[in-house]
């Protein structure tokens, strides 16, 4: 396969993996107003859980050698459990407390990843992580895996959309809009928020698991807070509240990120390239500020009502 094509496959796979995390964040922030800035933590939990569950013990690493499907499910469960841990103490309090606790869990997860070599390989990380469908399509250079990731994106998208547009999703929006009014109408804000946090984090866990399977090697350096920033940028740019927006935002932001990285490498002297991250953050940060100020609803923002049109009566009573 040509270089351009294989690069495109690589690009699309990464963007698609990101988009799953971004769909999860859309449920949490876009629909429920939950302020999770520990996305990288839940992503890391998913990645490590998948790696530990699926790596063959024969490699001499901590691994259980489970089938990949069990690894993917296990990653989601693990991320969900961590979300419970963060959500229970904070979801009754002001929004910022969840933010602080989620960044806390992200840092703690990284500490564990770095300091427990028996479990996580420590700073050396874990390698030889099994990839599903690796040999399929005659070793097509990752096309088979890309298709698998896209199927996962589609499944997560459909599942979340179905829930968002159910009465359950309607309650989430009510709580986002006015918690006091929602609880005066019999909705337990805490319980619904917790559900939303856990389900969204499970999507982030799946995203992390697919990342581990894609790269086949993970170490604590893969799960820095910059990942959280990227996912937030994707959601806000695409349109907070809209699953389609989250998908589009992932593509756009990842494209800008990759292109600007490439441009910096081409244009700047080698000395300054050491940390192209700063320039990329400025670029995305500027874009974000412009979006927040001038188009707060993003590319595909909350224009649709909370519940699908099909459940709305025709205008006969007008």
């Amino acid at each position: 396969m040509s270089g351009v094509l294989s690069y495109l496959v690589f690009f699309l796979t990464t963007a698609a993996i990101y988009s799953i995390a971004s769909l999860g964040l859309n449920l949490q922030w876009g629909r429920t107003g939950l302020f999770n800035i520990g996305v990288s933590g839940f992503f890391a939990v998913g990645a490590y859980a998948y790696a530990i569950l699926t790596i063959s013990p024969l490699t001499g690493q901590p691994g259980l050698g489970w089938p990949v499907l069990a690894g993917l499910l296990g990653a989601m469960v693990a991320a969900g459990l961590f979300a419970l841990l963060v959500g229970i103490p904070t979801l009754r309090l002001r929004d910022d407390y969840l933010a602080i606790a989620t960044i806390g869990i992200a840092i703690t997860v990284q500490l564990i990843a770095t300091n427990e070599p028996e479990l996580t390989g420590g700073t050396n990380g874990l390698f030889a992580i099994p990839q599903p469908v690796a040999g399929w399509l005659h070793g097509s250079g990752g096309v088979a895996f890309l298709i698998l990731v896209l199927i996962c994106v589609a499944l997560v998208y459909l599942a979340l959309e179905r829930m968002i547009h159910s009465p359950w999703g309607r309650v989430l929006v009510a709580i986002r809009e006015d918690e006091t009014a929602a609880s005066s109408l019999g909705k337990s804000a805490f319980s619904f928020r917790l559900q939303s946090l856990v389900i969204g984090s499970m999507a982030m866990g799946l995203s992390g698991a697919l990342y581990a399977a894609f790269i086949k090697f993970i170490s604590p350096q893969d799960f820095l807070p910059i990942f959280t920033f990227q996912v937030w940028a994707m959601l806000i740019l695409g349109g907070s509240g809209s699953s389609a927006g989250a998908l589009l935002g992932s593509l756009v932001v990842w494209a800008i990120w990759t292109l600007s990285g490439g441009l910096i490498q081409a244009a700047l002297p080698a000395k300054l390239q050491v940390d192209s991250g700063a320039i990329q953050i400025i670029l995305i940060g500027l874009l974000l500020m412009l979006v927040i100020l001038f188009r707060p609803s993003g590319l595909l923002g909350r224009k649709r009502p909370a519940v699908h049109r099909s459940t709305v009566p025709s205008k006969e009573q007008a």
Binding site: P167, W168, V173, L185, G186, A306, K315
Partner: protein, 252 residues
């Protein structure tokens, strides 16, 4: 219907509700008046579970509701509205009403898969009920409008509509007439009377004395956190203590 016994709510040294006791009899529209800062809204908030009382008890029928969270109190049949309307701004009027229906199967996140058909049937029923309520409150024209685009008076109607979705036994209305234009006010008063004749008990805070005199019997008067007196509207109107409370409640 609703019995409040020795209720106390204080913030530091400020006793917003100070040993208040009264009973709202089934089938009445009980008015609650008093100068600004008398503690009326705090009293509402404490009854409905928004604040935890520092002392005292509240009973809804035979059931003790003080100390329960707001969503539990709602489920027992007591609904409240807010002084400043709190519609779900980014939702349509129809959705505002539909979300308020109690006992929705579809509120379990898994039922979108395991009970799709039953959820859809229930959604149809809830929608029909919401359409009825909107017609009753004359909100049919704005069913598809986002709540944030409505006037203040219409938002009050949406709140009443949301309260009605649950067939409550008792509704606490916090200033249904405030900031409402006169023609809409007539309509709101008319609807409250109509609902009362169908068996719903009301406790309402109101500053507009015409509304209180027309609608409420008995009337409770609060001042400085305490219950001053209780009686039929004519008696309350002519009681000098009430006038004193109002005059004393405004800065000279």
């Amino acid at each position: 219907m609703l019995e409040v016994r020795h209720l106390v709510k204080h913030f530091g040294g400020l006793y917003a509700v100070d040993d208040v006791s009264f009973t709202v009899k089934t089938g009445t529209i009980t008015g609650l008046i008093g100068p600004n800062g008398a503690g009326k809204t705090t009293l509402f908030h404490t009854i409905a579970g928004g604040y935890r009382p520092d002392r005292g008890e509240v009973f809804l029928g035979p059931k003790r509701i003080s100390g329960l969270p707001p969503h539990r109190i709602f489920q027992l049949g007591l609904v409240r509205t807010f002084q400043i309307p709190k519609p779900f701004r980014e939702m349509t009027v129809l959705e505002n009403l539909m979300v308020a229906a109690p006992g929705q199967l579809g509120e379990r996140f898994w039922s979108a898969w395991v009970a799709g058909r039953r959820v859809r049937r229930q959604e149809r029923e809830i929608r029909e009920r919401a359409v009825q309520v909107m017609e009753f409150l004359n909100l049919g024209r704005v069913a598809q409008e986002l709540a944030k685009n409505l006037s203040g008076g219409q938002q009050k109607l949406v709140e009443i509509g949301r309260a009605l979705m649950s067939d409550p036994q008792c509704i606490l209305l916090d200033e249904p007439g405030a900031g409402v234009n006169p023609s809409l006010l007539v309509e709101i008063v008319d609807r409250i009377a109509e609902l009362n004749s169908r068996g719903i008990t009301f406790l309402l805070i109101e500053h507009n004395m015409d509304v209180v005199m027309n609608l409420c019997d008995p009337v409770l008067v609060m001042a400085q956190g305490r219950l001053l007196l209780e009686g039929p509207p004519d008696l309350v109107r002519s009681d000098s203590r009430v006038l004193d409370a109002y005059l004393g409640g405004t800065p000279a």
